[in-house]
Symmetry: C2
Subunit: 208 residues, 2 copies
């Protein structure tokens, strides 16, 4: 008997399978976002989508495999989004490229805030091998910003600040958007991404 009120589609098994995987993925993201990986029981994930817990194992090999997919997919999508934004901003000037990168990073952390938050906070839940894998994706991602910052500094466009410090300040500030942003709230994604890039580029002091 079907207890979840859905209509199973008998015609496209592959499509249905991908839909189911995505439904599980989304439910898992949401619960980890709310309670953390270790506070998100698979029973609750299953219940939230109207199936029983053992059924999840038809779609995923283990709980950690599911977390790994969330983190790797998110990191890859984020990297592609920011990389594209930098390359297609139509400028070689570090200021414009940095602004484009910040806009893309902030937009991603607002639009896909739960995934981004999980990717940023659950490294510690992975075992050593998987942790190293995601850490390398993160390093590759951060290098996108590091290159822009280096370029701007060597051209004298940016001040002579320690690169690692500037990178940590920037990413720390922009990634926190996934913690507090609410879609439909007072601030739009454009408000936030423009405000953040203005702030990082020019600071809070009025020109004088």
């Amino acid at each position: 008997m079907n207890t979840n009120g859905r209509t199973p589609s008998a015609s496209t098994p592959l499509g249905a399978e991908l839909d189911r995987r995505q439904t599980i993925y989304d439910a898992m993201v949401h619960l980890i976002y709310l309670k953390g990986y270790n506070g998100a029981p698979l029973r609750a994930v299953a219940e939230s989508i109207g199936i029983r817990m053992p059924s999840l194992y038809h779609h995923f090999a283990s709980k950690e495999d599911l977390l790994l997919e969330i983190m790797s997919r998110t990191m890859n999508d984020l990297t592609e989004s920011v990389s594209t934004a930098i390359n297609e901003c139509g400028s070689d000037e570090p200021e414009h490229r940095l602004r484009a990168a910040i806009l893309a990073h902030v937009a991603f952390h607002a639009e896909r805030r739960e995934e981004a938050f999980v990717a940023d906070s659950e490294l510690r839940a992975l075992d050593a091998d998987n942790r190293a894998l995601i850490a390398s994706l993160r390093d590759k991602y951060e290098e996108l910003f590091a290159q822009v910052l280096r370029d701007g500094r060597s051209k004298g466009i940016f001040i002579n600040l320690d690169e690692r410090l500037a990178l940590n300040a920037l990413l720390g500030m922009c990634s926190q958007v996934s913690v507090w942003y609410r879609s439909g709230g007072r601030l739009t994604i454009d408000d936030v991404s423009k405000g953040y890039s203005d702030l990082f580029l020019s600071g809070v002091l009025s020109p004088h």
Copy 2:
């Protein structure tokens, strides 16, 4: 000065009791920092300080009580530190007061990074009542920065940025210090706190 606001006495049983409480507190902080509240078993906390798990219950009523003490003590100490820094900076100018607040916030998040990280990330592990209690402490803390930002904006010293956005950007940037800072590393606390306050006040663009 001791960090828990109590008056320790060296040779009495009460002093020994406080030492033991502090040892448990520190071990719990460290394990939650590494693995999160739900990934930090009390058995491991006890083992790390050479006692058995049930002995912990002589010092704390429950696991959540221990977390609550960590978060409330940390928030109170942080608030006092930043509040004192603002009031004793010897200036009424918003720029100087903001700089003093940032220096104190960053220093705290570097010196007591594990406690600060736990206080910033484990709100979700508390039940509704305790969560509301810590959230109110956090609101009170953030108001310290909000007042300085408001004051600076109304005086025309700061640019006309949305207050909540600026506050989130600032605290997000500065609180992340607890994630990456390593004492004894390449950057001193002074390097970080000065670099961060310069960045937030003036941005990364070179003056032109």
